[in-house]
């Protein structure tokens, strides 16, 4: 039973870290444009290939 004394605080701290991450994500407007974020990841402008270095 004495294990609980440090196991419960560890569990709570880990949960709290997730909560803080969520609060940060909401506050910094990460959820403002879900459609745009989904589309943006697929946009890759055509660029010339980097020149291959010959050894």
């Amino acid at each position: 039973m004495s294990g609980l004394i440090f196991l419960i605080p560890i569990a709570l701290v880990m949960g709290a870290m997730g909560l803080v991450g969520f609060l940060w994500a909401v506050r910094s407007e990460q959820f403002d444009d879900p459609d745009g974020a989904a589309a943006r990841i697929l946009i890759s402008p055509d660029e010339p290939l980097p020149e291959r270095k010959s050894e």
Binding site: M1, L4, I8, A11, L12, G15, A16, G18, L19, F22, L23, V26, R27, F31, D32, D33, P34, D35, G36, A38, A39, R40, L42, I43, P45
Partner: protein, 739 residues
């Protein structure tokens, strides 16, 4: 003049139709921050990643632009630039790609709604965290039942309380605030029993913990908060979407006007700044924002959105021009006769207000359910307490504990989720099908409709004419098209579409009201009315053009306003659902009769004024019919606002779109789906309320008899909420059958 905007193709995915080509000058909306100029535009029709990269790419390529970012979820495009880039070029670049674009007034931004939604999301996150962690502790208490030492149990309860207290204060605020506000006014709402249950559950649990009791309801209180906040958040999101759709429409109406200053120089100003008597320049392709009297120039104007008439009208000095008309061929100058706010026909705006007031008396199913629920639950809890205490001979503490557990278990998780989840799922499904809802209760009202009234021009028909003369040789058509490419007249456009791409004739001149002349393959040619080409007018009911090459006899070209593809199938589907149909149009009798005959609609009215449309609606509604009005014009706006429910196509005038409950795009195809989904959604909503009632019928006796331990409460609450959500998701499942 050669801008045909036929190559402007809008969203490459085909999810949205190409938008308007009438970009107005956003110069009056530019904000200066240091050396940087900033501008926000609202972009209509951008739906996919392709749109995103095209729009951002084309704007970022303009000289001096430092950043261009489009929010795909709400269509807001933020641009920052330095140097003297003309803002007009930005909006032209975007509208040139085929997207509707309008300046966004940052003063009217939806800060309030956004803050509310964000704070609900934060509250939900905190409640979710607390629920999960307290549940972790509670499960060990329940699991260790009988074996766990009392000190350990008390310690775990205390720890739960320490987590629950800040959660209750932080996440419970929306409920406490709203409950307090209505109590001050001596009324009651859903938040009163919620707040009461939360506070009672918490204080009972605290006293139980202090005296080392067996049951504490900290987990139930937090779980209750979490589920209720999910419902609240979804509800806020639906309302904000509806609100921002209305805001976008308002933004599209807040166009700019080119005012001619005292020194004769034109300057772009906001429409609100126009006062009666101001002199205005109306460029070709531009839409009049205020009523005006023409002073100089002559041109043809498209008044289809104002009167429903499908063919353009010649206009010149001294004639009146209504707001909503589009100038087609030559620049016009005129004097404003009214400010923008008074410019829409006064009667129409009055009808809008009257209709909306009538509609706001509609009570949603959810409100009715709540008004039944609140007194029932409170009296049950009170009776339970009194019964156990006075009759059952129980101690005060135990009686309170049982009464509180009754309040907790009946607390309306399922009830709070029943409607919002259905609305979100149905709105998402409709959005994929090409229709979006402007309000949450629109679904319930659309579902109740049993009669549809259609406007003709632009709703049942495409609103643009199509060449029907099949016997015209292709070479002649190509020659006529060389002239037609120089004009914005709808018949010229139709001719160009029929002929396909090709060159433009030399020295084309346009005479408003008559036609075009120019040199084609070395010969002087004329295209236009019978009078202009010297032909005899023939007996065709629809629109005609004549093409004369040199001195040869003029050739007649006939046009017809095409019926939307799939209209007949759509009507059949609607009548299969038990809807009756009718056409009420402002257009000429022959044109309406022809469309009604083709589509097999027996009941029709032609040449109907806006007042006549409203009168027809009132007569039907007085006879007990629930009418779904489908229309696009300014002349329909009054009827749209008054009808039990209404829908407008995406190409409709802004006023009509804001008066309608739903806006659909991509032809008439989404309409049957709209009605079907609305009916399905209403059925699912009723099922959900039925389920919530059934749940209470089972749960209340258990609680009243004192068997609702925290474990039972936790299982019952989460189980009922999950079942309600799963039931709502069913709307998405049978896509094949209804889509």
């Amino acid at each position: 003049m050669t801008d045909l905007s036929l190559d402007a193709n809008g969203c490459p995915s085909g999810l949205a139709p190409p938008g308007g080509s009438d970009a107005s000058d956003p110069g009056a909306f530019v904000r200066k921050v240091g050396k940087q100029s900033r501008l926000s535009l609202t972009v209509r029709g951008a739906k996919c990643g392709g749109c995103l990269s095209r729009i951002e790419g084309v704007v970022a390529a303009l000289p001096g632009v430092e950043s261009a970012r489009l929010n795909l979820s709400n269509g807001k495009l933020d641009i920052a630039w330095s140097g003297n880039l003309e803002p007009r070029r930005i909006s032209e670049a975007v509208s040139g790609l085929g997207y509707g674009v309008a300046p966004l007034d940052t003063a009217t931004e939806d800060d309030g709604h956004k803050k509310e939604e964000q704070s609900l999301l934060l509250a939900m996150g905190v409640a979710g965290f607390a629920t999960a962690n307290i549940m972790l502790l509670s499960v060990s208490v329940w699991g260790g039942h009988g074996e766990m030492g009392e000190a350990t149990r008390q310690g775990l309860h205390a720890l739960s309380g320490v987590i629950a207290l800040p959660t209750l204060i932080y996440s419970g605020r929306p409920f406490f605030k709203s409950a307090w506000n209505v109590l001050k006014k001596r009324r009651t709402n859903m938040d009163v029993p919620i707040s009461l249950a939360l506070i009672l559950a918490f204080s009972v649990s605290v006293t139980e913990t202090l005296r080392g009791g067996e049951h504490a309801y900290f987990d139930a209180a937090c779980m209750l908060l979490f589920f209720l906040l999910i419902g609240r958040f979804l509800d806020a999101r639906v309302r904000r979407r509806a609100w921002s759709a209305a805001r976008d429409l308002a933004a599209l109406a807040s166009r700019t006007v080119t005012r001619i200053g005292a020194d004769g120089s034109p300057r772009s100003v906001r429409a609100e700044e126009i006062r009666p008597g101001d002199r205005i320049l109306l460029a070709p392709g531009e839409r009049a924002v205020v009523d005006m009297v023409i002073e100089g120039g002559e041109s043809e104007v498209d008044e289809s959105l104002v009167t429903g008439e499908s063919l353009p009208r010649w206009t010149g000095a001294g004639m009146k021009l209504m707001a909503g008309s589009i100038n087609l061929s030559q620049p016009l100058t005129g004097q404003a006769t009214a400010a923008a706010a008074d410019s829409l026909l006064a009667e129409i705006s009055q009808m809008l207000t009257a209709g909306e007031q009538k509609r706001s008396t509609y009570r949603q199913i959810a409100d009715k359910a709540v008004s039944l629920y609140v007194p029932l639950v409170h009296s049950t809890a009170l009776l339970t307490f009194l019964g156990w205490w006075l009759v059952g001979g129980m101690g005060l503490r135990e009686a309170i504990l049982i009464a509180v557990s009754t309040l907790i278990i009946t607390c309306p998780c399922a009830l709070a989720l029943a409607a919002p989840v259905v609305q979100v799922v149905a709105a998402g499904r409709l959005f994929k099908g090409g229709a979006y809802l402007k309000s949450g209760d629109a679904l319930e009202r659309i579902a109740a409709c049993d009669h549809v009234i259609f406007d003709k021009t632009g709703t049942l028909t495409l609103g643009t004419p199509r060449l029907i003369s099949a016997d015209v040789p292709a070479s002649l058509l190509a020659e006529a098209a060389q002239l037609a490419r120089a004009s914005r007249h709808p018949l010229s456009r139709a001719l160009t579409v029929a002929a396909g791409p090709g060159p433009l004739a030399k020295d084309v001149k346009e005479r408003p009201g008559l036609g075009l002349e120019g040199e084609v393959n070395g010969a002087p040619c004329r295209l236009g009315s019978a009078e202009w080409t010297g032909a005899k007018a023939a007996g065709h009911v629809g629109a005609t053009l004549f093409f004369a090459r040199g001195n040869e006899a003029p050739v007649e070209l006939r046009f017809e306003d095409d019926i939307q593809s799939g209209a007949a199938g759509m009507l059949a589907q609607l009548s299969a659902m038990g809807m009756t149909m009718e056409i009420v149009s402002g257009d000429r009798t022959e044109a309406v009769a022809e469309v009604a005959r083709t589509l097999g609609i027996d009941q029709w009215t032609a040449a109907a004024s806006p007042q006549a449309k409203v009168a027809r609606l009132e007569a039907l509604q007085a006879a007990g019919r629930k009418v779904l009005m489908v229309g696009d014009g300014l002349n329909d706006a009054g009827a749209l606002a008054l009808a039990h429910a209404s829908a407008a196509p995406g190409g409709a005038l802004d006023v009509s779109q804001s008066a309608a409950d739903a806006v659909y795009s991509g032809g008439l195809a989404p309409l049957p789906g709209l009605v079907k989904t609305a009916r399905l959604a209403k059925a699912v909503m009723l099922q959900n309320f039925g389920f919530a009632a059934a749940y209470n019928l089972v749960a209340v006796p258990i609680a009243v008899l004192g068997h609702a331990t925290p474990l039972v409460a936790a299982i019952a609450m989460s189980g009922s909420s999950i079942i309600v959500c799963l039931n709502a998701l069913r709307i998405n499942l049978n896509t094949e059958k209804t889509g």
